[in-house]
Symmetry: C2
Subunit: 285 residues, 2 copies
DNA sequence: CTTATTATGAAACTTTTTTTCATTATATGG
DNA sequence: CCATATAATGAAAAAAAGTTTCATAATAAG
């Protein structure tokens, strides 16, 4: 069952005048109609209780009471997630504020990224990884860190993969790719010329390209066979701290976990062989 | 104002027979009384509407209606937070499930980390950064990636900092630290011997040590002047994918943002100077 | 044992929701 | 353009739910 608020939005499009006003205030500030009685509401909307009852029934509620309950429930759920969007970090924030807001921003970015990712694309990417001869990772700056993270994971699953730190080496690797290779190019902005060149070089050699980027319309994305999108996030007060890399890591987690799930027994065997640290320690510290 | 459910538990202890039964079912399954009318409820509890109204007023509600609303609200919030904890990723999960669960796990880990971090400690760490001659970063495996992330940030704020990839170089750097230097040692497990040695070496030279670790009781944590804790998280089905590095990055964001906020004007000037990419691109891709 | 205090539920009362139904507006077919 | 069918509306009655009152019963205090 879809949520009530979603149903309200759907319904709103083909609606008559009388209900329109009410529905709009419902969509904008659902909490404003929360405690109200049906009469109050009718008065405010210049309509009658009967009309309101009919409307909420069309929205799938049993009656006005049920409508109020459902609404209360949904408002509670949404309140928290709404709260997030409007928190900007300012110079005046205390450290408590910073802790709260930075975390919220990062969470928000994860939520948004989740909604952007299409299962089908993930599946195609996993299939590509499965049948590829080698996987090569490309990235610069923070995205290079994400690439290394994925590299460490793929290593453990015995996927043959390459990564180079400096761009010249990355470009050389791209030039050496073949048809049955995969290139994973990570660039938050999608604008970095160096990454575009690597992607183009990979394509020219017939290799497949997966891009992890915010910019699904960028030249990099167009060059790629598959795009795994991440949320576009703002800088935290221009400081260069941004949630994008956290979202990128989330995408990496998803891709890798999906890969492992499709190759479960083999991977589990590999993981057993690639333990590094002593008991109690973790795989990658 | 305390939550209603908490108030119910508090009140439950000194209560008379008539109400007892009702309150107990309220505590066990609050959602079971949600849609019910006051009469229904009275009948079930072998009591009268009047008694129930009196009771909910003692619980701090305006009346039965308000009670129902408050309850609906709390049940909604509670349900959400419960939902999260029990999501394990299994072999059978579809890709949709993986996307959802991996993201939830990462979010959960961020939330938990936020609760662990003490503003005072963050403040002390920032002060340490401010008065230090140099900052040196230590880490291995995934934690090295986090260290590099912080390195990139500190560079932009013109904090003099060092990082080495391999452990021998890290150890040499630790041996060269002086009294007015800071070492930031990142180790999720807190058990990695190499990191402990670096921390000890740093301390021996009189440098201050900040640890970013899950293990607040570990030898590493004991060696450190300040510990910035991250949530202890499970592996995602033993695959080596784990939320810890995301939480570590969140801690890095918090530390860095707090630092920038306390040195706002200077940092903003520096950020202006350290732009790398063209307009539309990001600072670190 | 008497009196004061408190707790209780039936019933009266108030408010709220739901349904009914006559009226009005809108659309359809000739 | 008109006649008719269909849909929408709100006043008012009916039903249901919530609140208050008050007489009574239970319990505690003197």
């Amino acid at each position: 069952m879809k949520g009530l608020l979603v149903r309200i939005e759907d319904y709103h499009e083909h609606v008559n005048d009388a209900e329109k006003k009410l529905l709009e205030s419902l969509m904008k500030r659902p909490e404003s109609v929360l405690g109200k009685s049906i009469q109050e509401l009718a008065k405010e909307a210049y309509t009658s209780p009967a009309t309101i009852v009919r409307m909420v029934k069309k929205l799938g509620c049993l009656g006005y009471k049920d409508f109020q309950n459902t609404l209360a429930y949904e408002v509670a759920l949404f309140k928290e997630s709404k709260e997030i969007a409007f928190q900007k970090i300012t110079k005046e924030d205390t450290i408590e504020d910073v802790i709260y807001k930075v975390t919220k921003k990062n969470i928000e970015s994860l939520e948004t990224t989740r909604k952007l990712i299409e299962p089908k694309i993930v599946l195609e990417c996993v299939k590509l990884l499965e049948k590829s001869r080698t996987v090569t990772l490309f990235g610069l700056g923070t995205s290079l860190l994400v690439a290394r993270d994925l590299y460490l994971k793929l290593l453990r699953a015995d996927v043959i993969c390459n990564i180079c730190d400096d761009w010249h080496a990355q470009l050389l690797t791209a030039k050496n790719l073949r048809e049955d290779d995969v290139a994973i190019v990570i660039s938050y902005s999608g604008l970095t010329e160096e990454m575009l060149v690597c992607a183009q070089e990979a394509k020219r050699n017939g290799a497949h390209v997966i891009a992890i980027t915010r910019a699904v319309d960028s030249r990099l994305a167009l060059e790629a066979d598959f795009v795994l999108p991440v949320a576009a996030t703002e800088l935290i007060h221009r400081s260069g701290a941004m949630s994008s890399r956290i979202s990128q890591l989330n995408v990496v987690d998803i891709l890798f976990t999906a890969y492992v799930n499709r190759n479960y027994d083999f991977c589990m065997g590999q993981f057993g062989r690639t333990h590094i640290y002593k008991k109690g320690g973790s795989e990658s510290d």
